[in-house]
Symmetry: C2
Subunit: 340 residues, 2 copies
């Protein structure tokens, strides 16, 4: 890391003080607790502040308070995903007005990058962490626990979070949607996921799917479970393979990313009727889904609310509220629409 030189100039509190003809302390007070400063002095100070464009130095201020910054560190797997945008927006909404700001990083689905980010962010002494990932390297866990900084995990409703968790159960959600398909009469239900390797959420969803089958005494078939790489093309590929001659499915559960949308559009291109030819269901209700006909049957996950609640938890903890383990289940809804 090279040196960060700079022509950057910032007025200091003593410059304001000099200009206003008072001590630095009086300026500090005028800014923080105006009532304890005479009106006359206060006016002179405000004028000086305006004139030289003084902006307090939070680095110094927070340091003096021997404390943390007013930054909340957020680490998501990727920034290029509209689901996460909704969560980020929720966080921003929830932090607004509490003097807390967002610092953002993406771990590119890698635990080791997450570890680097946590370390780097920790150097800023953030007021809290929001992590989408729920499984971490040992070192990441150690850093987070040692610092006792508020941590909210949001990717899955784990039973033993580091600190707090705000999420939904990926497993139960997947199970619920699968059960719905079964009740609806479908028996050969395909399951298309992003690659399972090391992806806890994907595995949880698969488990949910399998549990639903088991509960209904339907034997799972290996050839009905697919791993596809993210993107619309994954959904297309899912249709290609599962609608191939040998497999034979009557419904497909697209359990990740934008697979469901890609699949629905591919069906339309193929002239394959949905749900008559094959029923489709997917995780998450994207904005675009509602524009397609038929509207995709899906799981509605309150992504924005996850951000909002995570923010609430961070705010509460950073003010010294609850400090015991906390689990917030935001739940999910099975949205029955036209593709099933």
């Amino acid at each position: 890391m090279e040196k960060i030189s700079s022509q950057i100039t910032h007025a200091t509190i003593s410059q304001v003080a000099a200009r206003a003809g008072v001590s630095a302390m009086t300026v500090s007070r005028a800014l923080r607790d105006p009532a304890r400063v005479s009106i006359k002095t206060r006016d002179r100070i405000s004028k000086a502040v305006e004139e030289i464009g003084y902006i307090p130095n939070a680095l110094a201020g927070r340091l003096r308070l021997s404390g943390t910054s007013n930054i909340v560190a957020v680490i998501l797997p990727s920034l290029h995903n509209s689901l996460f945008s909704r969560t980020i927006q929720g966080l921003s909404d929830g932090l607004l007005g509490h003097g807390l700001n967002l610092m953002l990083g993406d771990n590119r689905y890698s635990r080791s990058i997450e570890q680097d980010l946590v370390e780097s962010f920790m150097e800023q002494r953030p007021a809290g962490f929001v992590l989408h990932e729920t499984t971490h390297t040992a070192k990441t866990n150690r850093m987070l626990k040692l610092s006792r900084v508020p941590v909210v995990e949001i990717g899955d409703l784990v039973s033993r979070p580091i600190d707090a968790v705000v999420s939904y159960s990926n497993k139960l959600a997947a199970k619920a949607l699968t059960m719905y398909l079964i009740e609806k009469g479908y028996r050969r239900i395909g399951f298309v996921s992003v690659p399972f390797d090391n992806n806890r959420r994907a595995l949880q969803r698969r488990d949910g799917y399998l549990e639903a089958l088991k509960a209904s005494r339907i034997a799972p078939k290996k050839e009905l479970i697919l791993e596809c790489s993210p993107g619309f093309s994954g959904g297309v590929r899912g249709i290609e393979i599962l609608m191939g001659k040998k497999v034979g499915v009557d419904a497909i559960f697209f359990a990740g990313d934008v697979f469901g949308i890609g699949a629905l559009l591919e069906c339309q291109r193929r002239g394959l009727r949905v749900p008559e030819g094959v029923a489709l269901a997917s995780f998450d209700d994207y904005d675009i889904s509602g524009q397609l006909t038929p509207h995709l049957t899906c799981l509605d996950i309150p992504r924005h609310r996850i951000g909002l609640e995570a923010a609430r938890v961070i705010v509460s903890r950073s003010k010294g509220g609850c400090t015991t383990r906390e689990r917030v289940n935001v739940g999910f809804n099975v949205m029955v629409n036209g593709t099933s």
Copy 2:
């Protein structure tokens, strides 16, 4: 703003020093410039660092350097928009490996919120600002100029940026796409935008559209220019109105948000053939566009690259590189596809 109490604990450099049996200074050196510390000492120190889980305090460090933090402040109109996700991802990619982190805020399309954010972020003494907006309040301008912090504006290729600009010309882009439509033979070209009020980018796009008409000696018609609120439904509304009986258009340019997609889907629902019944063109190539048939004719704006280049400029300036006004034109492409 209430007090931020905290049980948060962080080891200090002197604790490491005590444990390693050296002075704080030696620890600092061992971390920053290992070559100047004997191997033996260095090992003892690393051990101590590991044991107590020491993470440097950037607040204190940067303060001593009387300088800026390693945070880059980014302010976008909204976080819930996949275009901005691409820019954010580009920024993240471009900052990666330079020891700079992202701090993020959304101004909700309001200049006064932007002003508050700039002030709040400035308190963190960021290494630079990236602003999507190109018109600011007087105070915002003042704060940014006074601090001499690197600023990159990215929303439009303005001629006199505060500091630097990395963008494309909204006007030329809109003009180019309109010209293309005209050359293609269309004469009654509708123009659908987000509301113009105070939105410089929207106005620039309209100007480009009007210039293209003028250059081709086509008289602009008021009834062909529409303002719709953001979202797919704006595109739907555009179709509803412009395809109504009285208007009569042969092509429509959707100059904002996801209008083009909403419009194309609405045409499909209506059984309106594209481009035979009406040609469609839109700003920005969304991921989903390529999945629709026909693929939308559009302007391809390199959103990710804008983030990347903006990051590059910030990095360069924060290292004391170029400090004169800088304009980076990332350009755009007219992507001719099936809807025209």
